[in-house]
């Protein structure tokens, strides 16, 4: 039996808060990945300036070109994000706005997986819906389902350690990562 090609995914986080639950989920992903899949963090979207085409015309910020290179080199992109005001966080969208303007923008044809968590009951589902529309424009290859939508995340993650304490949540994430790997291998 032929061995499966190893895959390398990169992770973008939609929150800048140090104690972010979504950042904690992103940090937990490598341990939940199937064999042969490595998952590494991207730089923080907090390193981007606010998007301004006048700045772009003087040259893309190094964080944008570096993150684009990292996405292009990866087999897939995972976006883990909270929902702010029934949509994507502005800080996440701002990074996408920069990255999308690069020549050979890095989302084109790239497999993308979405996860979201919230302290309320919605689990970030509205952020996912809007993000999916942006992924159409940038021609990403967005994974459909199973989706990871985690409501009441504060009951499922230890805020001090960042550990996902809820076994069901760990299981759902592991299953999704496995399905995404199969999707990427196509």
């Amino acid at each position: 039996m032929a061995e499966e090609k190893p895959l390398r995914f990169v992770v973008m986080v939609g929150s800048l808060r140090k104690g972010s639950y979504n950042a904690a989920i992103a940090r937990a992903l490598p341990a939940l990945a199937p064999e042969g899949v490595s998952i590494v963090p991207l730089a923080s979207v907090g390193e981007f300036p606010l998007y301004n085409m006048d700045i772009q015309n003087q040259g893309f910020p190094p964080v944008a070109t570096a993150m684009a290179d990292a996405i292009r080199a990866a087999d897939g992109l995972i976006i883990v994000t909270p929902e702010y005001n029934y949509s994507m966080p502005g800080v996440l969208k701002n990074a996408i706005d920069w990255l999308s303007r690069l020549p050979q923008q890095p989302f084109a044809g790239k497999p993308v997986l979405i996860q979201s968590a919230s302290q309320g009951g919605s689990g970030g589902v509205r952020a996912q819906l809007h993000l999916r529309h942006s992924l159409v424009f940038v021609e990403a290859r967005a994974f459909n389902r199973p989706e990871i939508i985690i409501p009441m995340v504060q009951t499922k993650i230890n805020a001090a350690t960042g550990e996902i304490t809820d076994p069901a949540t760990r299981g759902l994430i592991a299953d999704q990562l496995k399905a995404f790997a199969a999707f990427v291998r196509g």
Copy 2:
């Protein structure tokens, strides 16, 4: 016949580009307003830092509190924005994310009017759809229609002077502002 109460609207612009067509529209609004309605610009959303709750916990940035005061004091808010990647610009959403976190957040119950323009064929309609969802969360009183959705804006505005050269566009905006004033006076 009793005179109508004078109204004062404030304008938020979703683009930071100096030559932004949407900014040009915002600047053109006062001259298109009905009698008794004054329209004044808010500060640039480019003055906000990237939203981070850790920063918030140390104190809201002065631009957020000042803009919130200006919105609270106004009879209505007008948002003029481009569409980036089939959604709101991150820079606009980032300002909304900050403002929405303030105690007595300024959108609650506030009449809000949306306008968008794009150089392509869509006129920013997708940005408007997503923005409307955010306005539900912050409990704004969003104006429905007529909507101002301006495709091919580069054919309707003089890029050098910022003047709206297309009479039909000027007429549609004037009509919308009149309808919005009636909506606000309720």
Copy 3:
């Protein structure tokens, strides 16, 4: 102290299933309404034919004109609906499509309240988001929040009797109806 004007709301249900949980919620509303508010059911959206402008051109179906009259005569409209395939049910949208085509379409300026329930975890939130966009087009006066989004509805309603057995859900609905009545009284 002046007494408040009595209000009369009508209810549209987005599911045709006899044992529909959303229909059960609709039937429970009158008992949860604040004093001075009566809530009465509209005809079933299952009585509409599939929308076809060729039929419209020969005359609107009586169910459409009768339901439009009932909505026009009411102080507010409540829509209680499941979510199908991440959007509104087609049967609900079909009724809206018919009603919206009438001369003096009945949604214009009408206060509208949305409730949704699902047997899964989402509670129908995606149906609500899409419905809100339709309500912009028809120029309804959509109520913002609190929203009624009921996940795992089968654990909160007795399927045999249709009774809402979960006191928290009853309380949330009663609170929303009270807030909607205040919104309508303006």
Copy 4:
């Protein structure tokens, strides 16, 4: 050079009007398809009853099972639809609701292409956005771009003959069909 595998696409139309512009576009597709691609119509969504799980429990209507078979047997599905009330037509959504409930529902993994046209300025873009969300749920493999969004369709199609008289529109459709064929061959 190896010959490319012939492809067979099926087309679903979101309008029941006999003179529908969207139906006219659907009829024009075969002549605009690249070599090796055949495009055949599905039955009308007007043949479906209104979705009702009580009916489903007594047996799926023959039109649902037949259309599902036709979609499963095809290499791709094309949906051509107008926009009603800022969303999909109820009649289109109703057919999707039926089809999605079948065992081995036919959208799973199926390449899907979307086209829309309107007599107004929007071209049906909002219907496309909502439809894309439904396609996530049913796990279709939705094509991203180029999109076919046709505003002012009455100036581009001869209403009497159904011919697409605008060469630019014909060119855009031909280009999209070619890109979709490449996407399907993947």
